[in-house]
């Protein structure tokens, strides 16, 4: 079963961003290492190790985010295609062959996006380096911009996209041929609660992830490599959160929704979160990823600065000349920041508009039964508000935890480092929250206008 190309535009974009990001990171690290090796810093070696580590970590995070976003998008597309899938099953296609076809599409998306990303980075980096040299921002030197290792991020992105489409398409297995004739049924809360294997998996992932996070922080007190352990812990625990989210997110959404007032639009919106737990969870997870990511990066870079400053206070002699490096690294952090946030934002916007468009028929029925256009829009708006509020609450906690664990496990072992409490740059975080709220609202409202403009008769005729 082939999907429409339009469904993949966003996924190709996400893949392209991840791959370009990986390539740019490697090229950037190579340039930075060359610059630093010309400088005279006592802590040179550990700064270099830290740089390579940071680029590995940020790339792994970007690819992971891209993967989660892709899996989420594939899941949404499949939920909207239940009836078509059921028809294919009805005329004799096996579930596994359909799933393989979706995964094959994912491989194609991965290859196309990844190569595009490589192309973009191959143009961007040499140009920026020439500009940098020409303006004396960076010293003139022999920079190795195309090491063989660039193949690693490109291939990694292809593989992860492939894997993500495979994981995201698991719902195909639950579609029965019977559903070709009936309205598509999303699983109820009870169905989700009675998924023992998946729920146990979620708890185990979270448990192991938290243990690894703690282990990574402990190890980080003596060695920078602790950060790799912590990262693995972060990835595992967040995967667990994504898996287990349908268990608790709908209830959180409903209680946030109840605070939005008692009008019918707000009430229906609050109820929708629980009535379509799978759908509301998919949509919310997209926002959670974005907020977690931005918070995490903000907290991590703040932690990085604080830790270096603390070291300098204790051992001023050893940290001479660190300011310049610090400025460069913070600049790099800001770019990393933007990239991953962009990946998360593309995924979130795409997923939200898809899921509203898939509700054309539901909206048509509500309109026929007496919900006005304004009430429909208010309902969608209320849903996106309750989603943003819940996601921000969630993402803040996770982001602060992960960002702090990252900085602590990476830098706990540096001279004069030690243990530090997390510090949160609230202004950055606040900006992220406002951006997330604006994006998620815009992403839901625009398609809901389209959905309410068609007449209820036409909307009800939509399959």
């Amino acid at each position: 079963m082939r999907m429409r190309l339009g469904d993949y535009t966003a996924s190709i974009l996400v893949t392209m961003l991840s791959s370009a990001f990986g390539v740019l990171l490697l090229q950037g690290t190579s340039v930075l290492t060359t610059i630093i090796s010309g400088d005279d810093i006592a802590q040179k070696e550990s700064v270099q190790v830290a740089l390579s580590l940071v680029s590995v970590i940020f790339f792994a995070i970007a690819v992971y985010v891209g993967g989660v976003v892709t899996a989420n998008t594939v899941g949404t597309v499949i939920a909207g295609r239940t009836r078509v899938i059921a028809l294919y099953r009805l005329v004799g296609a096996s579930a596994s062959s359909l799933r393989r076809a979706v995964a094959a599409d994912g491989l194609l998306v991965g290859v196309v996006g990844s190569v595009l990303g490589l192309a973009v980075a191959s143009i961007l980096t040499p140009v920026s380096v020439s500009i940098g040299v020409a303006t004396d921002a960076i010293p003139s030197a022999r920079y190795d911009l195309f090491p063989v290792i660039l193949a690693v991020p490109v291939l990694a992105v292809v593989l992860v996209t492939w894997l993500a489409s495979w994981v995201g398409s698991r719902r195909i297995l639950e579609v029965t041929p019977i559903q070709a004739g009936a309205a598509a049924v999303e699983p109820s809360r009870e169905d989700i609660a009675s998924h023992p294997v998946r729920n146990a998996g979620a708890f185990i992932l979270i448990g192991v992830g938290v243990l690894l996070l703690a282990g990574g922080i402990a190890l980080g007190m003596v060695n920078m490599l602790g950060v790799l352990v912590a990262m693995l812990g972060g990835i595992l625990s967040f995967t667990g959160v994504v898996l287990g989210a349908p268990l608790f997110l709908p209830a959180i959404l409903r209680s946030t929704g109840r605070m939005l007032g008692s009008g019918p639009a707000a009430k229906v919106a609050a109820a929708n979160a629980v009535r379509n737990p799978a759908r509301s969870t998919r949509a919310t997870i997209g926002v959670v990823i974005g907020v977690t990511l931005v918070t995490m990066f903000a907290v991590a870079s703040q932690g990085y600065v604080d830790m270096i400053m603390k070291g300098r206070e204790a051992y001023p002699a050893d940290y001479q000349g660190i300011d310049e490096t610090l400025a460069v690294t913070i600049g790099v952090f800001a770019v990393l920041f933007g990239f991953s946030a962009l990946i998360a934002a593309v995924g979130m916007v795409n997923n939200l508009s898809l899921s509203v468009l898939q509700r054309t028929r539901e909206i048509g029925l509500l309109r026929a039964l007496g919900f006005t256009r304004t009430q429909i829009r208010r309902m969608i708006l209320a849903e996106s508000v309750q989603m943003t509020v819940a996601a921000v609450g969630f993402g803040l906690v996770l982001g602060i935890l992960y960002g702090w664990a990252g900085a602590q496990s990476l830098l706990g072992s540096i001279l004069g480092g030690g243990f530090m409490l997390p510090s949160v740059p609230w202004l950055v975080v606040l900006g992220a929250i406002v951006a997330a709220a604006a994006l998620s609202t815009a992403a839901s409202i625009a398609p809901s206008r389209r959905a309410t403009r068609i007449s209820p008769v036409a909307a009800l005729a939509v399959e």
């Binding site: 009936a182 309205a183 019918p264 009535r275 039964l369 007496g370 919900f371 009430q375 007449s455």
Partner: protein, 253 residues
């Protein structure tokens, strides 16, 4: 003094209604100068072959579509003059729908589906209304199915839930669009008998669009449409009489 539809004992009527789709030479005329009334407390069937304009007529009477020219009234309200918000409110409070494909919300239990019109209106049923809903559920024999979700119900049960939803707000008029189209003939007859009973027992006005002579035979009155015009009207008739007329019409054309 102007004579209102209510004075005439009509739940709804259309006056000189025409509807065409598209413009210019390619325009398709779905309805051409149709004037009919739906009598209060009666079960009216609107019959015709496909393409006769019967669905368009129903959509216009129900405020789901607007005519190209002419007026549509629900009781004393001229609905062709209303904007979308007012029309929607009117559908919510004064019109009920029964669809061919049931159109229950799949994620809601049968009970929540029946209560949906109240939820959309932002209120809970009064004690009196709740009593009426209980009576309905008993009559429709779905009381023991109220906690089930639509996919756990048979087609007949789903349509009975849809009928309960349509009747729950005691609307001025219930529109049924091929209500037996997705049901086997025995289940279809049960649903038709229930609709007829809603008229005779509770005085509910119902307008049903169908192309099935057996379905139309349950009605008090049968309006026959062809090529966008009302071509005939029958009182209570047997399926044989109705199909006899339809066949004769087919031969004449």
């Amino acid at each position: 003094m102007k004579i209102t539809p209510t004075d005439l004992g009509l739940a709804a009527r259309v006056v000189h209604v025409s509807k065409s789709f598209g413009i210019g030479q390619g325009a398709v005329v779905a309805l051409s100068d149709v004037s009919i009334g739906i009598r209060r407390g009666q079960f009216t069937a609107i019959m015709g072959p496909s393409g006769s304009g019967k669905s368009t007529l129903m959509h216009i009477m129900a405020g789901l579509d607007t005519p190209t020219s002419g007026e549509a009234w629900l009781g004393d309200t001229q609905i062709t003059a209303l904007d979308d918000t007012a029309l929607t409110r009117l559908r919510r409070r004064r019109i009920g729908f029964v669809f061919q494909s049931f159109n229950l919300v799949p994620t809601l239990s049968a009970r929540d589906n029946i209560l949906l019109p109240f939820e959309l209106d932002g209120r809970t049923p009064t004690a009196d209304e709740q009593g009426w809903i209980n009576t309905l559920c008993d009559t429709l024999r779905i009381t023991d199915r109220l906690t089930h979700r639509p996919h756990e119900l048979s087609g007949g049960q789903q349509q009975r839930v849809a009928i309960a939803r349509a009747l729950a707000t005691r609307p001025d008029l219930v529109f049924a669009d091929e209500p037996t189209g997705n049901l086997d003939s025995r289940t279809g007859r049960e649903v038709l008998a229930l609709l007829a009973e809603a008229c005779s027992k509770f005085g509910q006005s119902i307008a049903m669009v169908t192309h099935d002579p057996v379905a139309a035979s349950y009605a008090d009155r049968v309006l026959i449409l062809a090529d966008g015009k009302v071509v005939h009207e029958l009182g209570p008739s047997t399926p044989e009489q109705i199909s006899g007329y339809m066949l004769a019409m087919d031969r004449a054309s």
